[in-house]
């Protein structure tokens, strides 16, 4: 295919990419502002930064990898679809997690099941019974996964945000619409609820 390389090298050499130009690390917010201006390619670096954390977040919430992958994909679709609603300077991480929460809520409402099916979680997660060498660890992980699945969704979410996604209480408060102090109390209550289930 001769045409594309020729075109690319022409444009890059002559106008687009002088070799002296250094690529600076671009903030999430700057990238999103460009996506908003219909420069959709700038979503690619944001995808690279966020798809794993968002997938992991959704996995912890749903306990289902396949569903989580679909939901995470949907989050990026919504970033494009609702890009006009992003405000310049708004913290991007909070914004995209809010979209993820909405995607999860929508999914949950469509597939209404008050608590996840424990057997299903065990099988969809990677804790096969064949992994005998790690039997102790996987039993423990499975028990903890099960305990998490038995928490009410809002408590599970706050634990996941705090424990796995690295959100501090102020950020959680922003996401949930409460103060940092209130978020901290909620997180502690969720931890206590989890402790009771896990050690029951």
């Amino acid at each position: 295919m001769p045409l594309l390389p020729v075109l690319l090298s022409n444009f890059q050499k002559r106008t687009l990419s002088p070799p002296t130009e250094t690529l600076v690390e671009t903030t999430d917010e700057a990238l999103m502002t460009q996506v908003q201006a219909d420069n959709l390619d700038q979503l690619v670096p944001l995808f690279e930064r966020y798809h794993q954390p968002l997938f992991s977040f959704l996995c912890r919430l749903t306990g289902d990898r396949e569903v989580s992958q679909d939901l995470a994909q949907n989050v990026f679709y919504r970033v494009l679809k609702y890009r006009a609603s992003y405000h310049a300077g708004q913290p991007f991480r909070a914004w995209i997690y809010q979209l993820a929460r909405n995607v999860h809520t929508d999914h949950w409402q469509q597939n209404r099941r008050p608590t996840a099916d424990v057997d299903q979680i065990e099988h969809t997660a990677s804790y096969g019974r064949s992994a005998l060498a790690h039997a102790a660890a996987t039993d423990r992980d499975a028990a903890l996964q099960e305990a998490l699945a038995l928490l009410p969704p809002d408590q599970r979410e706050i634990l996941v945000l705090h424990r796995f996604q690295g959100f501090d209480y102020a950020e959680i408060g922003e996401l949930l619409g409460c103060t940092a102090g209130a978020a901290r109390v909620k997180a502690h209550r969720a931890l206590e609820a989890l402790r009771k289930i896990y050690f029951s």
Binding site: Q34, N39, D41, A72, H188, E192, A193
Partner: protein, 286 residues
């Protein structure tokens, strides 16, 4: 809900500290509160056990395996991005041509063209141009493309089709498809170049004009192309078309464009990015 887990059968001294224990286990308490909790822990086995459980729980949570998405996630994402870009380029009308071969080419192109933030307009232009390139490539590389070309010879000429499209309510994507199907070689007196130039100068849709730019670039060996691009420059007001034209004139090494570029660089109604691009183009051509 807020008091759901408060156990009412705890001794009063334990109940008083109950809410502090998770924070204590997490190391979040101020020194005064730490002292208060530790004074109680020294005398209470039940609360000691609770603290130990919080700590075990925290460790086990940390030890939970991290699931990774499969590679399909990136593939699906790229396909989705491609669809959205195509929709944007064709103003939400149906996709231009059969998408199969294009997805792959453009997925590669996207990665190669990630750009620093300062050249936003350029990127917009480049991505739109590349959609056009992708369309052309999709047609060129598609196994059925020879047959497609063969079919075309039996159809009315491009000139006729475009002229018809201009007088009928043809969609922008129809016109892009027509323009993108323009042959890569032509005879000296072929009307294709003239039709494409006319499209470039008069089509109301900037994406159709961009596709015309691209089609003309493929016909760059024709001596009429470069002067027509120079002539078109002052007629354009869309920044993407302006920038693309400047790129093409530089790529074609057309020093005749310098006076027009100088005028464009002074134009008050042109975007700063366009004026900058014009100046850069002058620097490369003189």
């Amino acid at each position: 809900m807020h008091t759901s887990f408060t156990s009412h059968d705890l001794p009063a001294s334990c109940a008083a500290l109950e809410d502090l224990l998770p924070a204590y286990a997490e190391g979040e308490l101020a020194p005064a509160e730490v002292a208060q909790v530790e004074a109680h822990l020294a005398t209470c086995a039940a609360c000691q056990e609770k603290v130990a459980q919080y700590q075990t729980l925290a460790q086990d949570l940390l030890g939970l395996p991290l699931a990774c998405p499969t590679p399909e996630m990136r593939t699906d994402f790229m396909a989705m991005l491609h669809r959205e870009k195509a929709a944007l380029t064709t103003e939400n009308v149906a996709p231009i041509a059969n998408a199969e071969p294009r997805v792959e080419h453009e997925a590669k192109v996207i990665l190669m063209w990630s750009r620093p933030a300062t050249r936003q307009w350029l990127q917009v232009a480049a991505s739109i141009l590349l959609v056009a390139v992708g369309v052309v490539l999709g047609l060129v590389l598609h196994p059925g493309s020879e047959q497609l070309a063969a079919n075309q010879t039996r159809k009315p000429s491009l000139a006729t089709q475009l002229a018809t499209a201009a007088t009928q309510p043809a969609t922008a994507s129809d016109r892009i498809q027509l323009v993108s199907n323009a042959p890569t070689t032509n005879q000296q007196n072929d009307a294709t170049v003239l039709v494409l130039v006319n499209t470039l100068n008069t089509d109301p849709n900037p994406n159709v004009r961009l596709a015309a730019c691209e089609a003309l670039y493929r016909l760059r060996k024709d001596p009429r192309v470069a002067p027509a691009l120079v002539h078109s420059l002052p007629l354009q007001t869309d920044p993407n078309v302006q920038i693309t034209l400047i790129e093409l004139l530089v790529a074609l090494r057309t020093p005749e464009a310098v006076p027009q570029l100088e005028r464009l660089a002074q134009r008050r109604d042109a975007l700063p990015a366009v004026r900058q691009q014009a100046e850069q183009g002058i620097g490369l051509l003189i």
